[in-house]
Symmetry: D2
Subunit: 335 residues, 4 copies
């Protein structure tokens, strides 16, 4: 195995980073100017993945910071109801607000997000608020790149990485680049690289890896070059996403894995990566092969993109298996 998970831990999965609110357009297939009502969901990539893992039956926890307002309390209540341990979800006391993401769905393939990230509570998480004990009690720590976008959340995430290394907790880095908050592309590259050096599993798009290589020479944008660099540090698995052409999982033993994809009646593209990540990591924890884990992730993603929401649509294992079976029976076709 490219990555070995420690045994005998209280939690199977803990994530650190963004907790925010999605405000999804109810009237879709039009510009947001013409959308009059929005539905509220818990959002943020690491929140979505954690909810996904919990739905898949995993024992999960979250390390993050919420605003001291109605939005923050809604997030806390939702996570709790999903069975996620929130002992390390702390409440900001400085007047920060909950990050927002208004979604615009002009068409299934033309989606965008209007972000509110100024003074966001999640970026106020400080190193002293990261529980070493919780990380030591988890088999896996997921770090989202957005947690690195500003101080003190940046230092909190870097400290979480050190705790994970110290206690042998497997680290997954989801680069999750968002062009907000970051001050410059050089800053983004600097901190994503620092986190990647300390990660066992790294997941990102080709464009995200390009950005991290801005001070290097990889003119052909070679996946193999990229993967080998991180295998030279701590990584065992590097997944590089190529959009419609699918994802490739590179493993330290030289492997290169692709999974088959499934048809879906796409409503929007948001949340595909998060549900894929949850499905894939669930597979690894289950001891499945890389291919089977990727396939499971792909099916989970199909379910989410066929739905109106992200977090709320995260499927159970039964739902994913059922989706795969229905695809195999030809009951689901792209639309």
């Amino acid at each position: 195995m490219s990555v070995i998970f420690p045994e005998g831990r209280e939690f199977e999965f803990v994530a650190i980073g963004r907790l925010c609110i999605d405000l999804n357009a109810n009237e879709i297939n039009r510009p947001m100017e013409q959308t009059m009502t929005f539905t509220k969901y818990v959002g943020g990539s690491p929140a979505n993945i954690t909810i996904g893992m919990s739905r898949l039956g995993r024992k999960t926890a979250f390390i993050g910071k919420i605003a001291d307002d109605q939005m923050g309390r809604f997030i806390h209540g939702y996570l709790t109801r999903e069975g996620i341990d929130t002992r390390n979800v702390v409440t900001d006391k400085t007047g920060a607000v909950t990050g927002l993401a208004f979604t615009e769905i002009k068409s299934p393939t033309d989606c965008s997000i209007l972000m509110y990230r100024d003074n966001a509570a999640d970026l106020k998480l400080s190193p002293t608020e990261v529980s070493e004990e919780l990380i030591a009690s988890s088999r896996m720590l997921l770090v989202s790149g957005t947690a690195l976008a500003a101080s003190p959340s940046r230092e909190a995430a870097l400290l979480a990485l050190d705790y994970a290394r110290k206690h042998g907790t497997v680290v997954v880095l989801d680069i999750d680049y968002r062009p907000y908050t970051w001050k410059s592309p050089e800053e983004t590259a600097a901190y994503c690289n620092l986190a990647a050096e300390k990660s066992d599993i790294i997941v990102g798009t080709r464009e995200e890896f390009d950005q991290m290589e801005r001070f290097e020479r990889n003119p052909d944008r070679s996946d193999r070059y990229t993967a080998e660099k991180w295998f030279g540090c701590k990584a065992g698995i590097v997944i590089i996403k190529h959009g419609k052409e699918g994802s490739i999982a590179y493993t330290k033993d030289g492997g290169e894995h692709r999974a088959r994809s499934f048809p879906a009646k796409v409503v929007k593209t948001f949340g595909a990566g998060d549900s894929y990540a949850a499905g894939f990591l669930h597979g690894l924890l289950s001891g499945w092969t890389i291919e089977r884990s990727m396939e499971f992730g792909s099916a989970a993603a199909c379910i989410v993109i066929s739905s109106h929401s992200c977090s709320d649509a995260m499927p159970t294992e039964t739902q994913v298996k059922d989706y795969i079976e229905r695809c195999e029976r030809g009951e689901i076709t792209a639309g």
Copy 2:
């Protein structure tokens, strides 16, 4: 008359200040944590008043700044459709966002607002973006206190006051204190006082006037003391609101005016002040007495608080007159 409006101007009313988005809870009479959907409206006190004036048949314009995003374009489109001149509504190019106000309606009398004011586009309006010509072409300029809450909007509003004085445009100051953006109570007092010194009509709650008097001695919180101070500057009318006990309009000639109130089936309290202001100023422009203008404002306010929205519920003159008549006929009772 306590205030004389100049004649022969292209516009009857121009406002400067906040343009934002209200996201009103669809499921009401509960805490916002339990509200799942929100409806989008144009918001911000000066925007509401301008929409109200336009609905009442007045020729209006707006001086403000909007974000370069879907929310900003929605605001621009809405104002234009309402017949408001937007030649001086400029678009921010620095990445500012549209201010948001999520409303929470726990009960008709227990309402609150969750504000997003960080990096708000309206506060980026700069002095060079204020049209002297537009102010010179208007009979009245309304300045909202929130425009004074941060630079460069603060200097833009102060310059607008100078242009108004230079050209004899009547200035209305709506104090509209919001505890966001301001850095200290002393700062609030300083700039509200500077604006009040240059205003012909000043509208605020007793609490707002108290705040402006923090460096003075008015221990009895005397309305008369407050009004006289501003009559010593430029004001002709000072309206002091006492919540449920009603408003009193003080005039420079020593007058003290109260208007009768009307019953209403209250949904929420938001927007009462804005519709009152629109109705009252419409009355003054119509040459009505202070009492009749106040009465008209009160009825306009009743219509808005009986409705789900603020801007969208602003009534026409026919609707207000109809409301008063129905009250007189006993067809409307409080509820």
Copy 3:
């Protein structure tokens, strides 16, 4: 008289604003790159003028804020030793530093200043730290334009102006424009104009008045237009400096006053304006004519520009009179 000073006050002069340190090049007539040693003096225009007034025998006080460090303590000690009342010189507790001004004297006519104004203690003075009682006990309040350059010092200075108006204390505004700290020319114009509206005596260069008129039409840069504008507010005397061509004092009664100048062996130009101001204001307080006051100011300025320092070189009345007499005897010639 264009300006009447109140009688029976404890202090004859109080200034508000900048207290800083001058570091004057010991090796002069060369670029600062080649200067190896510097001498420390108390500096800042209002500090210099106050020291000047004290040397001229006036009972003075200062309203300002100093850093909690050796530089701050040096300033406090120096003012105290000069007989200036420092009860309203407060000490910053936020880690601010003392503003610095390194002087470069390439030649008597080619002088420049390298300023350190980031996080300067004097700009941290807040409205609650301004003593109304002290202003009420003074015949005259001098406000320096640099006090308006940033918050909260800006609001503190504006409040001082209100206290002065309330208690009939004569206000002198020394525009003293410095292109540091200010965020934009529009901001500078806005606040200098607000302060000038409330001042009895306004002193500035033609360029400073031009800057304040950026939103007006005075295409000929007419001094008379400028002066009349402020006479329309509160001013009784407006002094406009035209560099080598001398200064003109305009008075509300239509007067236009120029004073003769004196020869001097110029070392540097720094401090000329401050010593002129001290001499002129001393003359007004003495009940002298405008001309005689200006002449006295000119002679005081000659003494300072013939010396290495500013504050330390401020003359006594005897020294100024002696200088004038020596000039009249032809003992001093330019050089």
Copy 4:
């Protein structure tokens, strides 16, 4: 050898970080309040060490940023005259100023510094301004901890570390903790640790290492524990300074080295660490033993603390050898 320097490089030493100005009290043995004149020197720990290395005959270069003013030009001229390559000393264009350090020498053992670090040019160095080629052409890169104190200098220094690793340039980290600019102790720990992980030689005081271990358990403050941790990363030599009790150099092979000390007629303590570092690194480059290198550093430090300045007093090899010989002959005694 614990550390092997690459051969065949154009430069023997390149430093990245702080370039500033020391203003040293001329009148010493008194509080700074009583010091009236100051002498200007180039300062900043990495600048001092580089000047020291250059004086010791090493081919050196500097990576840094200077203000676009007289102070910046003085620094550039001084470095150039010392034979230091300044091709990577760039000039700020944002209005930053040169950092200042006023020294106060109350007694030889009671010295302090008054720092001006707001808006300092050296902290504006950005990653794109770091020459990979220059680092690739150097045998050794010295990083000062103060370069990590703020962005973008922080990212620039971290990138320099990556370039050094890529090209096999030996990295020396001088922790050089200064309680300015850093926002929190946690932030300091985070970035000093990240830099230490990538360094071959780490130099700091026991207190500095304590600070870096705030998230660890080293209750006995064990030097051995500290050193072993970094040997587990990349380090070959860890020097821990214990003030008067001397320094200990730990080496990866288990060695623990102390050097004898020399007497000195101490004027002040500033600059001791910088001259020690220059002397020690010169010894390592010369292929001397750790002990001999430490001894040479100690003697260099004695010369600097016996003098009024830091940078200007950095000795040549002849001067250091002469000092050691004079000590051995008993010609120098403590005073």
